[in-house]
């Protein structure tokens, strides 16, 4: 095994999860005693977000699983990725993920929980995409991120509504508010949104498809995220909100329907796969469905069942994912029909896998047996549809027994095969599965302690009231035991007949063609097509379109404003008999303006524009603005000279537009022009009382020492304007200088020389 200093450092990282585990274990007495420790700090209190943490039985159980399995996964990853250049960053990401998960299960604030929730999505994105040079990994990571992200934002809205309706964002404070929250008209919205978050995260139908895709991730990730921790976050959420949102018929219906469908579908899909990790992924989906299903039943018994199943599943599924990784690592194979007889080469691994498989199949004395017993008990005692629910449970469990055989027994039994690059797994790889499988056995043998010390506080927290959970290996000859027997027998039969059933099953599976995976892909492609289409239309590149849209927007908004104002433009006075020179000037402006537009000669256009300017200057002179007139005259002269100097080196006016385009442009321009005139007339109809002029007229001479009030305004009263104005001139001059003096590209439209380092400049 390659060992380096980096690897050595990586090995010590295990101390972090170990430390957390030890610390959590130390909290057990307090939790069992019903006094959950809490830690609270201020944060963004304005938004109701505080750093509130609490370790009650439910959170503690999850936290312990997270940190304990985390420690094993770190050890395992040290073996699995030994010598990998990015091992350390991988482990750091794993630990970040662990931190986020701990946050989710210990947070006692809705939004704080959400924050950690999102962090798990992001870190899992990085982890699923660890083999980032493969496109499949990148796609799978994105898919998981988008699906859980979508659920996440829904949940954010849901949690916010919940907090607003409940008057607090502290989860423990909401527990007593269930009645008022469920009476809120927003309850259905809250429910749907929160469930969306939980269902996407916990891979419930129809969002389950991201989980098999995420099997692109390396085995430590699957073992950690996709069996024991992240996918259980949704379950945690449902358990946590059972005393707040639960009990309502809508809650029960949604959980039973979605959970039941997921339970059956996952098990059904699992038995037809050949890829070991996919089999495990689908069976995980199935169990996640079972957990939702049980929480949907909602009785204390069912909650107890859910928590026991969750624990059992975490232990055996973590084992099996690690085992799958070992098989792949040692043989390079993941397909079950290519793996067999490995029990001789790796006896310890086979032992662990065997124990896990028996737990999964629900055989005594393993924890899986106990959890299945409680499962059946819970469905049988369900307040409604007990028989139907039990039938669903039994069917799914029969399938899962077969899956256990496929995933855990098949590779180790049968004829021994030789593998080209076989190498035996080291202790780091085997430690994890052995410990987890052993724990499954140990807890199966200590049901009384488990029930009293662990499940009781967790179930009490999930139910929102004190509850004593009793677990036992032997209940006597009960109907549940009979069902267990039936399950195992049916499963064994199915396993035995499976090779013959495969073709039929493959035909039944229409999910590949029309399933949610396809919906996701089609949706993504459709969104991209829509985006490309709308961008092409909107950002067309044609300036005339841009300006048209802007003008129509302006006209539309201002026109709307005028219209809702009632369009009551008072009749204006015409201001008495017009002076002939005024009329003449207006006529000149109008005619010259039209000429500037209509002419086909550049020179004529510039001259006409100049004529407009000079006529405007004279108008200023007529109406008491000599300074304006002077400036306008001077500027207009300068502009005409400048235009002539520049324009005569440009091509003549070309008629580029079609008559239709011109008509359209006239309509656009006219609409905008008329609207502006309308607003102008509406304003002119209201007498103006200048608030500024009288004071300026009074004070210009005495205070500012100037008789020309306009000039005094420019250099004194509003001197800052002028300072800005001359700045504009200075900048324009610099710009003109730069544009004229900078070297022109060699030829028009020449392609850029590629050696240009900045890419934007010569």
């Amino acid at each position: 095994m390659v060992s380096s200093r980096k690897d050595n450092l990586s090995r010590w990282l295990v101390l972090i999860p170990l430390g957390v585990t030890a610390w959590l274990a130390g909290l057990l007495p307090a939790i069992s005693a019903g006094a959950p420790p809490a830690w609270r700090w201020e944060w963004v209190s304005l938004l109701g977000i505080r750093l509130d943490f609490m370790a009650d039985g439910l959170g503690w159980l999850f936290a312990l699983l997270i940190s304990g399995i985390g420690a094993l996964v770190v050890v395992y990853a040290n073996g699995y990725l030994a010598g990998h250049p990015q091992l350390r960053s991988f482990l750091v990401t794993i630990l970040l993920f662990m931190f986020a998960m701990l946050g989710v299960v210990l947070a006692d604030n809705l939004l704080l929980l959400f924050i950690f929730w999102e962090l798990t999505s992001v870190t899992s994105y990085l982890l699923i995409g660890f083999k980032h040079e493969y496109e499949a990994s990148r796609k799978a990571a994105l898919q998981a991120l988008l699906v859980t992200g979508l659920g996440g934002v829904a949940m954010l809205a849901g949690l916010t509504l919940l907090g607003l309706a409940g008057g607090s964002f502290q989860i423990s404070a909401l527990v007593g508010q269930a009645a008022s929250i469920q009476a809120s008209p927003l309850y259905p919205a809250m429910l749907v949104l929160v469930l969306l978050g939980a269902f996407t995260k916990s891979a419930q139908f129809p969002f389950h498809f991201w989980l098999p895709g995420a099997m692109e991730a390396p085995a430590p990730v699957s073992a950690y995220l996709h069996s024991a921790t992240m996918v259980k976050a949704g379950i945690y959420l449902l358990a946590r909100f059972t005393p707040i949102l639960g009990g309502h018929p809508a809650w029960q219906a949604a959980l039973l329907a979605v959970g039941g469908a997921t339970l059956l579908l996952g098990a059904f899909l699992a038995i037809q796969k050949l890829d070991l990790k996919r089999i495990l992924a689908y069976s995980t989906i199935s169990i996640l469905g079972a957990l939702v299903f049980l929480l949907g039943v909602g009785t204390p018994l069912a909650v107890k069942g859910a928590l026991t199943l969750l624990l059992a599943h975490s232990l055996y599924k973590g084992t099996l994912f690690m085992v799958a990784g070992i098989l792949e690592h040692s043989t390079g194979e993941r397909e079950i029909d290519k793996l067999s007889g490995l029990r001789r080469q790796m006896p310890l691994v086979a032992l662990a896998a065997g124990a896990a498989a028996l737990s999964m199949a629900g055989l005594p004395p393993l924890l899986g047996f106990i959890s299945k017993e409680v499962f059946y008990e819970a469905t049988r005692h369900s307040p409604g549809w007990a028989n139907a629910l039990t039938a669903v449970a039994v069917t799914a469990n029969i399938l899962l027994v077969a899956v256990a055989g496929l995933a855990a027994l098949a590779p180790f039994f049968g004829a021994r095969k030789e593998f080209k690059d076989y190498h035996a797994p080291g202790w780091q790889l085997t430690l994890g599965p052995l410990m987890l499988a052993g724990l499954g056995l140990a807890l199966g043998l200590l049901p009384g302690w488990l029930g009293a010390a662990v499940i009781t506080p967790a179930a009490s927290a999930a139910l929102g009231s004190a509850y004593t959970a009793k677990l036992a290996l032997w209940h006597g000859l009960t109907p549940e035991l009979a069902l267990s027997g039936l399950t195992v027998a049916g499963g064994a039969l199915l396993y035995w007949g499976l090779p013959r059933l495969r073709p039929t099953l493959a035909r039944l599976d229409v999910g590949e063609r029309i399933g949610p995976q396809r919906v996701y892909e089609a949706g993504l492609a459709g969104m991209l097509r829509l985006a490309a289409g709308q961008t092409r239309v909107i950002q067309s590149g044609y300036l005339e379109n841009y300006i048209s849209i802007i003008l129509l927007t302006a006209a539309g908004l201002a026109g709307y404003g005028l219209w809702q104002n009632g369009l009551h433009i008072q009749p204006l006075e015409w201001g008495g008999l017009e002076m002939i020179e005024e009329i003449l000037l207006l006529a000149i402006i109008a005619v010259a303006g039209v000429a500037a537009v209509a002419t086909r000669s550049r020179l004529m256009a510039v001259a006409s524009l100049g004529a407009v300017g000079f006529a405007v200057a004279m108008l200023y002179a007529l109406f008491s603005a000599p300074d304006l007139a002077m400036t306008q005259f001077a500027i207009e002269t300068l502009v005409v000279i400048l235009f002539v100097l520049v324009l005569y080196r440009l091509p003549g006016f070309a008629s580029l537009s079609s008559p239709r385009a011109r008509l359209r442009d006239w309509l656009v321009a006219g609409t905008a022009g008329v609207t502006i005139t309308g607003v102008l007339l509406a304003i002119l109809a209201i007498p103006l009382e200048s608030r500024l002029a009288p004071w300026l007229a009074e004070n210009s001479v005495p205070l500012a020492g100037g008789r020309n009030v306009v000039n005094v305004i420019l250099v004194d009263f509003r001197g800052i304007d002028t300072l800005g104005e001359i700045t504009v001139l200075a900048v324009a001059a610099i710009g003109i200088f730069a544009l004229l003096q900078m070297p022109a590209p060699r030829k028009p439209e020449i392609q850029e020389a590629p050696e240009d380092p900045e890419g934007s400049d010569a």
């Binding site: 300074d627 520049v646 580029l656 007229a697 001359i726």
Partner: protein, 124 residues
């Protein structure tokens, strides 16, 4: 007069906008010029017209006596004219540069920065 001028201002706006919608970059600059006049006249008219009484205090007096033209719009327009001049002068030189660099005066030929080039063509 007020109404007549308002109508002429509307006409100038229309003409200016119309020229801004042309495909020729040369016409665009004419449009900017017309639009500038339209806006200045609008500010002038919005400040109301007063004939024959410039806001200059007669020698020896200390204040303007009514009626007098409102000096504020005049000062605003003066600033706007000068700013407009700077901007227009820059714009006309930019147009010249545009024509030299692109070799066309047709705005419909200037769509490259709005659209993504195919891969392999770094657009600069």
């Amino acid at each position: 007069m007020t109404v007549l001028l308002a109508v002429v201002i509307g006409l100038l706006y229309t003409l200016g906008f119309y020229m801004l919608l042309r495909r020729s970059i040369v016409k665009l600059i004419i449009g900017l010029g017309l639009l500038g006049h339209a806006v200045n006249l609008l500010v002038f008219l919005a400040g109301r017209l007063t004939a024959g009484v410039p806001p200059v205090v007669p020698l020896g007096e200390s204040a303007l006596s009514a009626p007098y033209a409102d000096p504020i719009p005049q000062a605003l327009i003066l600033t706007a004219i000068v700013i407009g001049f700077g901007v227009q002068a820059f714009a006309v030189v930019l147009i010249k540069r545009t024509y030299e660099v692109l070799g066309t005066d047709d705005l419909n030929q200037m769509v490259s920065t709005d659209r993504e080039p195919p891969p392999g063509e770094d657009e600069e």
